[in-house]
């Protein structure tokens, strides 16, 4: 009897404790999300909040015929498919490099992590200067010319713009994943490595058969968060290319911003956002299933 009263009041207290979080989430996440879905069926122009008309599936019909939308889908996938393996491998390599307990390793750890603590806007502006297509002002092109090569358009060439952003994003983001890998590496028992070396495994073999299996959970977590982050790509194209040249770096989130705020088609932007939400959710569920199955 005594026990159950205690439990009851404890449960009550628990509900009251989560109430603030629930209220805040409902107000700032759930409510806006539902509003977005509602506006997706209207012709809401941001300049005329008092003249919103319901327009059925018009936005969705328009969306599926919208060339720019499909280009944005393609660009977002292009970015995700390339940046995720590149950044993950880079982060793992860095983590392996600095996981040893040699002297001075902490300097490198700080150095590899430092792009991560710098704001993406700052990093993007710096790289815009590095990537400048003119060899007399762009550092990378100056280097290319010095080495006797042709200068590269980087952000000004539709063929290289997205890849330039991928490279710079992986450089900026890898530090964070590196830290997660480092924590994972420390969780692998030392005796497994000893056992492997007694069995005659070299460095490569012990990496393949001890380190990788030991990091399995960490790797799937890292891939998952990198995919979700990659799908949300916005800052780099906003700062560096404005979605150009020739649509080469227009991503889905950038397209939502452009339609909603620049062109003020808020209803249409909400429609893109709703479809984007469905894409990301199904990707996450799909990935979870694959990871579980393994």
């Amino acid at each position: 009897m005594h026990v159950s009263v205690d439990k009851k009041s404890e449960r009550k207290a628990a509900y009251i404790f989560i109430l603030p979080a629930v209220v805040l989430l409902a107000a700032f996440l759930l409510y806006p999300a539902l509003q977005t879905v509602r506006y997706a069926f209207t012709d809401y122009n941001i300049m005329r909040p008092d003249r919103i008309k319901f327009c059925g599936l018009n936005n969705f019909i328009e969306l599926f015929q919208d060339k720019d939308f499909w280009i944005a889908v393609k660009n977002t996938l292009h970015f995700t498919v390339l940046v995720v393996p590149f950044q993950t491998v880079l982060a793992l390599a860095l983590a392996l490099l600095i996981s040893s307990r040699r002297k001075g390793v902490s300097i490198f750890r700080a150095a590899y992590f430092s792009p991560q603590v710098t704001s993406m806007v700052v990093v993007a502006i710096l790289w815009t200067v590095l990537y400048n297509s003119n060899p007399s002002s762009g550092l990378l092109n100056a280097l290319l010319v010095k080495l006797g090569m042709e200068p590269c358009g980087f952000l000004n060439d539709p063929k290289t713009a997205m890849n330039s952003i991928i490279f710079m994003s992986a450089w900026q983001g890898a530090g964070y994943q590196m830290m997660i890998f480092l924590a994972g590496l420390q969780g692998i028992p030392k005796d497994q490595y000893e056992a492997a070396s007694i069995d005659g495994a070299g460095k490569w073999k012990s990496f393949l058969y001890v380190t990788l299996p030991g990091l399995k959970n960490v790797i799937s977590y890292v891939i998952m968060i990198t995919v979700i982050q990659a799908m949300k790509l916005f800052t780099q194209p906003y700062v560096m290319t404005k979605g150009g040249p020739q649509n080469a770096t227009r991503t889905l989130v950038y397209y939502v911003y452009e339609q909603g705020f620049q062109k003020r088609n808020f209803g249409y932007a909400c429609c893109v956002a709703a479809v984007f939400f469905v894409i990301v959710i199904s990707l996450s569920i799909g990935m979870k299933k694959i990871i579980k199955a393994e």
Binding site: L24, M47, S133, N134, N156, K263
Partner: protein
């Protein structure tokens, strides 16, 4: 028990915090009973920031007990950050009383009834004193929706040493301005290893339509019809395509950079530049060693229209303003003869009041006289259309696409279609 109380307190705090955010529109009156008038304008150079501080102090001193003026400076950068802030305020019905907007967007806000007509804010004598170019840009559907203190113009700056060395003719009157062919030949001739012949990209945002629209006008067309309702047949007309191809030839032949470095002309890395009137002050103050001059905006071959850009930021009154009498008082103060003059002087831009030129005598002398002459005689404001935001963004995108290899006609067709779609969706009768 303690835990419960704490949880309850937290919950109440969270909920009450939310409610505070979504109350009714606040009365714009402060504790002293003064009507609070808020101005939004972009952050500016130190001289202008000082001007604001001084003038606001003066106004508040003079109107103690009745009106309190305050200004919020909003970072604009070269993107659309300022517009984003306005968009957010429109949705939450929280616009300031007085809102500074860029010239061509006056029509956008007016057409959507975000701003109010201000014809009766000034006396006829005052209106007569304001330049036509400025009034024209600020008029929509026959009514005036904004008033500005300064104007702007763009002309062709040149590096005098480089032009002399190359033996290139410098025009002395506006009829005698370089034609496109002359402009092209000069740029070609002046392009050397480390120096490009010209600089045509002011920035990759509004700078593109601001400067480059003139090539359409000079070639006998424009970006959109005069009533602002149709872009197809204008921006992508044969004359328009020709203008785009001409500009692209400068980029493709390496006579101009698509990514100019900062202050390319100022640092002797570009021989000429299509630059704004405000560059005069920068060049005089910060680059005393550069031997430069400025001449008229180039015109199309075979009798092109004489033209030059105009337009600057101006103040409009929003629908959220409550005390219109106080707003009127503020507007009359900010745009009085004296204040227009001192503002123009601080920002080194041509003033919008004819009477200010009596005080600012530097505009009677070269190089400033050239900008004044262009302003009064060849100025063309940017298009007045409620779809300007779309037109401007689409035009910029089209030009950058053309510069990176897309067919001019194809890129301009796309811009025309997107602009017309926006107009027909929201504004067509």
């Amino acid at each position: 028990m303690k835990r419960k109380v704490m949880a309850a307190v937290l919950a109440v705090m969270a909920v009450s915090g939310l409610c505070a955010g979504c109350g009714q529109t606040k009365e714009r009156v402060n504790e002293a009973g003064e009507s609070v008038i808020t101005v939004w304008s972009p952050t500016d150079e130190p001289a202008i920031e000082e001007w604001w501080v001084e003038k606001i102090e003066q106004f508040n001193e003079e109107h103690k007990g009745s009106i309190h003026l305050q200004r919020e400076a909003i970072v604009r950068a070269d993107s659309y950050a300022y517009e984003d802030k306005i968009n957010a305020a429109i949705t939450s019905n929280d616009l300031p009383d007085i809102l500074f907007v860029d010239g061509p967007t006056v029509s956008v806000y007016a057409a959507n009834e975000i701003t109010l007509p201000i014809d009766d804010f000034f006396t006829q004598d005052d209106w007569d004193d304001f330049l036509d170019s400025s009034k024209q840009q600020n008029t929509y559907d026959g009514k005036i929706y904004a008033v500005g203190a300064t104007e702007s113009s763009v002309a062709l700056y040149y590096n005098a040493d480089m032009l002399h060395e190359a033996g290139i003719r410098i025009p002395t009157s506006k009829e005698d301005a370089w034609t496109w062919s002359e402009f092209y030949d000069a740029a070609k001739k002046l392009t050397k290893d480390d120096v490009v012949g010209t600089n045509i990209i002011m920035d990759k945002g509004e700078g593109l339509p601001y400067v480059l629209e003139q090539f359409w006008i000079s070639n006998g067309t424009d970006l959109i019809s005069a009533d602002g309702s149709q872009a197809d047949g204008y921006i992508n007309s044969p004359e328009g395509v020709e203008a785009a191809e001409f500009l692209n030839s400068l980029i493709q032949e390496g006579c101009a950079n698509i990514d100019p470095i900062q202050k390319e002309f100022h640092n002797g890395r570009a021989a000429t530049m299509l630059g704004g009137s405000w560059e005069v002050a920068t060049l005089e103050n910060d680059y005393p060693d550069l031997n430069w001059g400025v001449t008229y905006f180039p015109i199309a071959d075979d009798g092109g229209v004489l033209t030059s850009p105009t337009g600057d930021w101006s103040a409009s009154v929003t629908k959220n303003a409550q005390d219109l009498d106080a707003v009127k008082e503020v507007m009359n103060f900010l745009f009085s003869k004296d204040n227009v003059t001192t503002y123009a002087q601080a920002i080194s831009k041509p003033p919008t009041r004819a009477s200010s030129y009596d005080v600012l005598t530097e505009y009677n002398e070269y190089p400033r006289s050239l900008f004044k002459e262009q302003l009064m005689e060849t100025g063309h404001p940017r298009p007045r259309t409620p779809s300007y935001s779309v037109l401007s963004a689409e035009f910029s995108e089209a030009m950058l696409n053309i510069f990176t290899g897309v067919d001019a006609k194809e890129a301009l067709d796309a811009a025309a279609a997107a602009t017309d779609k926006d107009y027909n969706k929201y504004y067509a009768e």
